[in-house]
């Protein structure tokens, strides 16, 4: 094909469509297609260098909106790579797609209803029984039941590709728990900031209305006395967890994990800090097999025992229903044209890939005869120990051994295989600094059930290949995403991505705080504060590196032994390492439970489990600190000192951020309780080591430094430190934000912000623990601070922490 011959598009010079496929941007004669023309003109005006400059900001924008994904084989979060160029879909094409995917959603729903219900399709011979029984997603405990609310599918995803003749084809059905809609939303927001004027001028259809409808439909299925719709996620280790957190925040649903749920007397409850709260509607992103270890996968730790029974009795609705993944089977692809006639009395509006299920002898003969022209794929998913380990493959590309193995297995168990027509995808432009290039892509479209029908998200999630190979089969890995812009026929009515003012109910507290979230909040606060306390020790130690003055050496040795006691450095003989070495060791330890990098990593883990509760800024601060502390150190004392100083600054920034930007919710109070307890403990322990009555001036100076109180002290006393005056400042002074008394007073105030609890004994025990803490300080004076008093203060802070955990974080098994 020739390169672009269009005179308006000098920016497209060098764009050469791929041979053999349809190109979205230009026609066979090399002319820009009409619906792309205004877009290309806009690009022309902005110019290639400016476009590339803007594209560089996309990854940052995605991070800002919280769009990440986690690759299973890596520990790090990655920003979803997003193409700076959207795929434009004309209004005419969209009408075809919309009608086609709605019809297919109806078909999927009707088929699920029969497969789990009367089984007429199998009994009448329309579908062989083995197609149903062979799917690992045919959940036998759900057979014979109509799901609560009467529907299996609430949210359906379908992958489309465009054939060389310009027709759209269905490549895959996603009926279990389709991913991508949240990423599509994130992609849209990032791109809207990159090409604002273009998007506005082109009348690109907005996504907000679709999500409003989806939200309203699910909310209507939840009883008013329940705790609201919850989004059930497998948790932070899932590849698409960030999408779950992002969608939960966007839709205003509570993000929950299996351990947040409890089934009592057949009803489903949320474990919250205020006790068990009834729920009845779960938007499910957890694969159904993992939902219930009693009736489904017994090794699952992601679900809750009793959920399957609750789903059967209708006590809880799932969107999508447990077992809806059944109709994702490739094996069913060969039957949909016939089933569409049988169930709907209609021909398929969008064809799906031609497929032959080899459990049928005649179909197997076709596949054998055309072997090299086809893709060979597992008939069902291959998760449950089938014979097929390599997913879909182009038969002609199989090695001789694999080919022989596949043919032998097809002979014995043909029903495990399908043959599928190889699909050539269309291409869409992607931008590089040099210009635009065509890349094959497929489009995932989302359909949501409404009370009386179906609605399609006017957009989609495109996966764009990183290679030039237009065969759909080469798309299994890699590549990037692209936004899909559906163009409107006429001018659009503007709708914000935020819910419209009329639809918005004023809510002060969003939902309930789950016990798991509370626990992570509490430990986030504790780990961060403990890291702060430890960094102060390291800083104090590093500044004393190389000291020869005996008093200073003594202080350094005591700092070292405190770091040992805290588990920040290995416990070895003092003379085996210098102060500088000990400080550097603490800053680099990855296997010492009390070392700053380990504490920050734990804080990060706690934070990652409550992503929906943290703003992207708060998350980024913790993430940045973690990255900083895991970089290599050169070992010089100055480097260690600098690292510790920077760490303390980051932590101060987070504390300031939490103070200024977090709503004073229960979650905030719990984070603060964690911090206050931990700070009280640290100051008590500093004082026990450096501040008891026989302490010399060097020790007292170190204590003031650790307690961040040198300036206050100097302004008050103008003299060298005296033990009683230092103790007064660090223990008893309620106005010093680092003092034990200050922590105690704040703990008392924070308790008032916690939800009421029915466990009167435990409530009393918690209040008493704070009273005891305050009483311990009230009954002593700065003059009689000795080791025994410091030990009792230490114990009193720990007692507050354990009383708090007993009341709000423990599982109280009694029914509501």
């Amino acid at each position: 094909m020739s390169h672009v011959a269009d005179p308006v598009a000098s920016i497209l010079a060098g764009y050469r469509p791929l041979a053999g496929g349809y190109d979205e941007l230009v026609d066979a004669a090399g002319r820009v297609r009409p619906h792309w023309r205004p877009f290309v003109e806009a690009l022309e005006q902005v110019g290639l260098p400016e476009l590339n400059r803007r594209a560089d900001g996309i990854a940052r924008r995605l991070r800002e909106s919280g769009v990440y994904y986690r690759a299973y084989d890596r520990d790090a979060d990655q920003a979803w790579p997003l193409s700076a160029t959207p795929v434009l879909i004309s209004a005419e094409d969209w009408r075809i797609i919309e009608a086609g995917v709605i019809q297919r959603a109806r078909l999927m729903e009707a088929a699920l209803t029969d497969f789990y219900g009367p089984r007429n399709l199998v009994a009448n011979g329309d579908v062989p029984a083995a197609i149903i029984t062979g799917s690992p997603d045919f959940l036998r405990p759900m057979a014979g039941r109509t799901p609560a609310g009467g529907r299996h599918l609430s949210f359906y995803g379908v992958d489309l590709g465009r054939a060389p003749d310009g027709r759209w084809w269905v490549l895959n059905d996603r009926t279990q728990a389709p991913s991508g809609a949240g990423y599509a939303l994130g992609n849209r927001i990032a791109l809207a900031r990159t090409l604002p004027e273009t998007m506005h001028d082109l009348d690109v259809q907005r996504l907000a209305g679709f999500f409003q409808t989806f939200r309203a439909t699910l909310t209507a299925r939840s009883a008013p006395d329940s705790a609201g719709v919850c989004l059930l996620t497998p948790g932070p280790y899932n590849e698409t967890y960030y999408e779950h957190a992002y969608l939960a925040r966007y839709l205003g649903f509570l993000l929950v994990e299996g351990e947040d749920l409890a089934v009592r007397n057949g009803a489903v409850f949320l474990r919250t800090v205020a006790g068990l709260k009834k729920i009845d509607m779960l938007l499910r992103r957890l694969d159904a097999d993992f939902a219930d270890p009693l009736e489904l996968n017994p090794s699952s730790q992601l679900g809750a025992p009793g959920l399957a029974h609750a789903a059967r009795t209708g006590a809880v609705s799932f969107a999508n229903a447990l077992g809806s993944g059944l109709v994702e089977s490739r094996a069913l692809m060969s039957f949909w044209p016939k089933l569409s006639q049988r169930l709907l009395g209609e021909d398929l509006l969008l064809p799906n890939i031609a497929t032959w299920w080899c459990g049928d002898d005649a179909a197997r003969d076709v596949v054998r005869a055309r072997f090299d022209d086809l893709a060979i794929a597992p008939a069902f998913t291959n998760e449950r120990g089938g014979l097929f380990s390599f997913g879909a493959a182009q038969a002609a590309a199989l090695s001789p051994q694999d080919r022989a193995a596949v043919l032998a297995r097809m002979e014995r168990r043909g029903g495990d295989f399908v043959g599928q027509e190889l699909v050539t995808l269309s291409s869409t432009p992607v931008m590089s600094p040099e210009g635009f290039e065509p890349r094959p892509f497929q489009l995932r479209v989302f359909v949501a059930a409404t009370q009386d029908g179906w609605v399609v998200m006017p957009g989609g999630f495109c996966r764009v290949s990183s290679r030039n190979d237009p065969l759909a089969i080469s798309m299994q890995r890699g590549g990037m995403s692209a936004d899909a812009w559906v163009l409107a026929d006429g001018p659009l009515v503007y709708r914000s991505l935020l819910p419209s003012a009329n639809a918005l109910e004023i809510r002060r507290a969003i939902g309930a705080l789950t016990t798991r979230t509370a626990e992570n909040m509490f430990w986030l606060g504790r780990y961060l504060e403990r890291a702060d306390a430890c960094l102060r020790l390291v800083r104090a130690l590093a500044t004393r590196a190389g000291e020869r003055d005996p008093e200073a050496v003594d202080v350094a040795e005591r700092l070292c032994s405190l770091l040992e006691t805290w588990g920040a450095i290995a416990d070895i003989e003092q003379d085996e390492r210098s102060a500088g070495e000990a400080a550097a060791e603490a800053m680099q330890a990855t296997d010492m439970f009390g070392a700053p990098p380990v504490l920050v990593r734990r804080a990060l883990h706690a934070a990652s489990a409550i992503r929906d509760m943290l703003s992207p800024d708060a998350w980024r601060m913790i993430k940045g600190l973690d990255r900083q502390l895991s970089e290599p150190l050169d070992g010089a004392v100055a480097d260690t000192l600098d690292r510790a100083e920077r760490g303390l600054r980051e932590l101060a920034a987070f504390a300031g951020y939490a103070h200024e930007n977090m709503t004073r919710s229960t979650g905030w109070a719990i984070l603060e309780i964690g911090r206050r307890v931990e700070r009280g403990l640290a100051v008590a322990r500093y004082t026990a080591n450096f501040g008891v009555s026989d302490a010399g001036p060097a020790a007292l100076d170190a204590l003031l430094e650790l307690g961040d109180s040198q300036i206050t002290y100097a302004r008050r006393y103008f003299v060298t430190a005296s033990p009683a005056a230092v103790a007064d400042l660090l223990i008893f002074d309620e106005d010093n934000p680092r003092s034990c008394a200050f922590q105690a007073r704040h703990l008392r105030d924070l308790l008032d912000q916690l939800p009421e609890s029915a466990h009167a004994d435990a409530v009393h025990a918690l209040r008493r623990s704070v009273v005891l803490l305050e009483a311990a300080m009230a009954s002593h004076s700065p003059g009689d601070v000795d080791a025994a008093f410091m030990t009792s203060l230490d114990a009193a802070f720990l007692h507050v922490a354990s009383s708090f955990a007993e009341l709000y974080l423990a599982d109280h098994p009694d029914a509501p």
Binding site: R119, V122, A123, N124, G125, P128, A129, A130, I132, T133, G134, R140, P141, A143, V263, R264, N265, G266, P293, L294, E295, N297, P298, P305, G306, H309, G359, D360, D361, F380, R384, G385, G386, L387, R412, R413, G414, G415, D811, P813, D814, A815
Partner: protein, 292 residues
Amino acid sequence: MKYRIRMISSTHYDTSAPLGSHVLRLKPRESAAQRVTSFAIEIEPPPADVIEGVDFFGNATQTFTIEKPHDVFVFRAIAEVETTAAPPALDAPSPAWETVRARAWADADNSPWSPAQFLFPSRIVSLDDDITAYAAVSFPPGRPIVAALDELMRRIHADFIYDVDATDVTTTPTAAFAARRGVCQDFAQVMIAGLRGLGLPAAYVSGFLRTMPPPGKPRLEGADATHAWVSAWCGPDLGWIDLDPTNAMLPGNSHITIGAGRDYADVAPEIGVIVTYGKQALEVAVDVTPLD
């Protein structure tokens, strides 16, 4: 034969469990060959509410949650059963195994005991090329299915060592096959993996054997615990035929069926989800006495 069956299981937790959710599958199955005249179950500590149910494959279930802290979880079941099964004759005519296979894959029935339910890998039984090749030796082209099944059962009995220490309830047939060792569950699951690998429907049956043999007969392996064997589909006329590879026999009057499904995971006598830390110690005792 009439039998009284007693089964006691007690689990001791190192630290008290605040909560435990359990499903029991202990009630012997009713069938043409087996009648249950009485069945009773006791649970300690007593749960608030026991939900009686029947699972997909027709096994009776008791589902309950213990909602108070407990160190010990005990259940006792007592059943009286009358068996009338006589094993089928091995020399009766049966269809070629390939005919049975073709029929199972083309079946237009997906009710719970249709052959199509038992063709595929299941939770514990994956397909395994080595096991399939081992099984294929007994399945030359055109051989009547019952003769082939009988030979495979006898080969497993001869080639495998009964060893209660070699495996546990989670051992896969692949691991048991590699070791050529195991207990009844492993013998049964290896045979099932081989049959499914060849494309034939095979089910897992759990049950009991009489504890003391009749005078003059040897004591059977597996008599002191729950037992397991295989059921294989032999075409629409013969239906399901049971085979016990642990004892190389066709089960008859001495085998009492409790549950049946695709593998052990479908019929486990107890599945529990408990919140506890530390170790658990499990003791199980089974006693099967003839009443006449």
